[in-house]
Amino acid sequence: MAKKLPSKYLKAGVAIVGAGPAGLTAAIALAQAGLETALVAKRAPEIDNRTTALLAGSVTALETLGVWQHCSALAAPLRVMRIIDDTVRLLRAPEVSFTASDINLNAFGYNIENRHLVAALEHRAAELPSLARIEDTARTVEIGETKAGVTLLDGTIIEAPLVIGADGRKSLCRAAAGIDTEGWRYPQTALTLTLRHSRPHRDISTEFHTESGPFTLVPLPGLRSSLVCVVDHMNAERLSALDDATLAHEIERRAHSILGKFVIEPGRGIFPLAVETAKRFGENRVALIGEAAHVIPPIGAQGLNLGLRDAATISELAIAAHRSGHDIGEPDLLTRYDTLRRIDITSRTFAVDLLNRTLLSGFLPFQGARGFGLYLMERIAPLRRVIMREGVAPTTQPRLMRGEAL
């Protein structure tokens, strides 16, 4: 050990790179169970105006982790989800409404601005003595035989047997572990923004299905909603170039004025639609969570909820392994993590893809199938309930999603 030690050298039970909702959730879950956890990332800039519809299981997990109490007042319940076929095609679907009380839920979930969610997570993270919140950027990640090392911009090295890569779609951790991704792009872009409106949303989220993709209004507290408007690239460019008043008018027209007049709040997001899935979710002492593991289009409120389930799953596995004296970065554990997450992630990617493609397709049978599917869901209450339950909470959930502490 003649090697000269750098200015700062930290040993942790686990290192997490990336402090978005998934990374923070994993850090809280692991630190709350007593594992020395290093969470590395600069604080997210406040300008992020995206929102997240946290589905029931995610809310339960946040409650279990002592996070929800810090942000529940800033979240709006989603009690009804309405789908309206706004295509001008031959076979159109009936309007379908899903009501949370049909499956004995008070709400399907809660819509919250990401910055409030992240603030609540950071608040909780700061309360945990075993959590070291390191506000710097990871420069390199190196994988060793029995541990991995994360080097920060200031030269600090953090060593841990397991590194959790929560560092987004261009994940450094993923590259370091030598994990490839596969995926595809869609000819569409999502325009996201926050609106004030003159009429109440009555806790109903409304999804208009159009030929260019879904146009979704999701309630926020008060007379506010978030909008995800999926259009082709050219239209996205055109819309984002409009001034606020003109864009507000254009959006109101597309929303058939159901929420009255719109005023656009500052901050617009532009996200080209793509699917990108890591070929392995865990390998070489790295476990990938959130968008480092999977990018899916912002349709159907699945992406971030998947990320929270990733965080809950890897935390559950790591704590159980640690309590059995195991090396928590061992290949066997990472293989199990991959297996446990694979079905959930691929099935949801597939569902979102299918919905989006049937919207885009001018092929009549696809139109018919989508319409018929929605027709069946509208007419057959038990089917609708099964779909709702699976959408809100998959059949096998990690413990945190069931309200059990680790």
Binding site: G13, A33, G34, L35, E145, T146, K147, H322, R323, S324, G325, H326, D327, E330, P331, D332
Partner: protein
């Protein structure tokens, strides 16, 4: 072999020692020849932890549930069992008659940054030196020794009053012949041929009698079965093949 001339005792069977020493660096390869032991490890560690936690009133949810307990692992091999127990806070001594194994174990502990006292020695030598432990482990080792009664007695001597001895081994039944020898060594090729000799397997009755003779009192016995669907080992009431016993010395 230098080992043979250096150590003179009566419990070690040297043909067996050589058989394991040949595995050398392969000990820690989870998909190598010792893969079955790696697979078996979680259920063994869980059992030891839970038995120790019950006896010493520890919270298994704590990440250092074995802190402060002095544990001896007899026949520690490459240290596959010592390392997880050390991570749980136990003060581990790992003993194995094969110097090759001890070298493998020592160098792996350095990699894992764990402090484990590994010694190339035998149960007798440790017992004669007056070593005492809170828990003495004889996991997957009874079926490899020359004299079970003597081996258990020497292990038992090292258990502190109120302490535990935990043993895991393979029953001598038709089923164990079919599964552990024909199945594991010949059909599935999980283990190198010759790893086990069926006639050296020990029945629960024999092991219990040996433990009682050693002044210990049986407090728990449990079967261990392989679940093909889940691809993992789990505890069971079926003691026909693999099983574990916990015994205590009166306090």
């Amino acid at each position: 072999m230098p080992i043979r001339s250096k150590i003179s005792d009566r419990t070690v069977d040297y043909a067996e020692v050589d058989q394991f020493a040949r595995l050398g660096a392969q000990w820690w390869n989870p998909s190598g020849p010792m893969a079955p032991l790696h697979k078996l490890n979680p259920v063994r560690v869980g059992y030891i932890r839970d038995q120790a936690a019950a006896r010493y009133k520890r919270d298994v949810k704590k990440l250092d549930s074995l802190a402060g307990l002095r544990i001896l692992d007899i026949g520690c091999g490459g240290g596959i069992l010592c390392e997880p127990l050390a991570r749980l806070g136990a003060s581990m001594v790992g003993a194995d008659p094969s110097e090759a194994n001890i070298e493998v174990a020592k160098s792996h502990a350095v990699l894992s940054e764990l402090t484990i006292d590994y010694r190339a020695t035998t149960a007798e030598t440790l017992a004669e030196a007056g070593e005492r432990f809170d828990i003495v482990l004889a996991m997957e080792v009874v079926e490899h020794v020359a004299d079970v009664g003597l081996f258990v007695r020497r292990c038992g001597e090292m258990v502190k009053p109120g302490g535990q001895m935990i043993a895991a081994t393979i029953n001598r039944t038709l089923k164990s012949f079919a599964l552990a020898i024909v199945g594991a060594e010949y059909v599935l090729r999980w283990l190198p041929r010759g790893t086990h000799q069926w006639n050296k397997f020990v029945t629960p009755d024999e092991l219990e009698a040996a433990m009682t003779d050693a002044g210990l009192c049986i407090v728990d016995e449990r079967g261990v079965i392989y679940n093909f669907f889940a691809d993992r080992w789990q505890l069971s009431d079926d003691m026909d093949v693999n099983y574990m016993l916990t015994a205590e010395r009166a306090g």
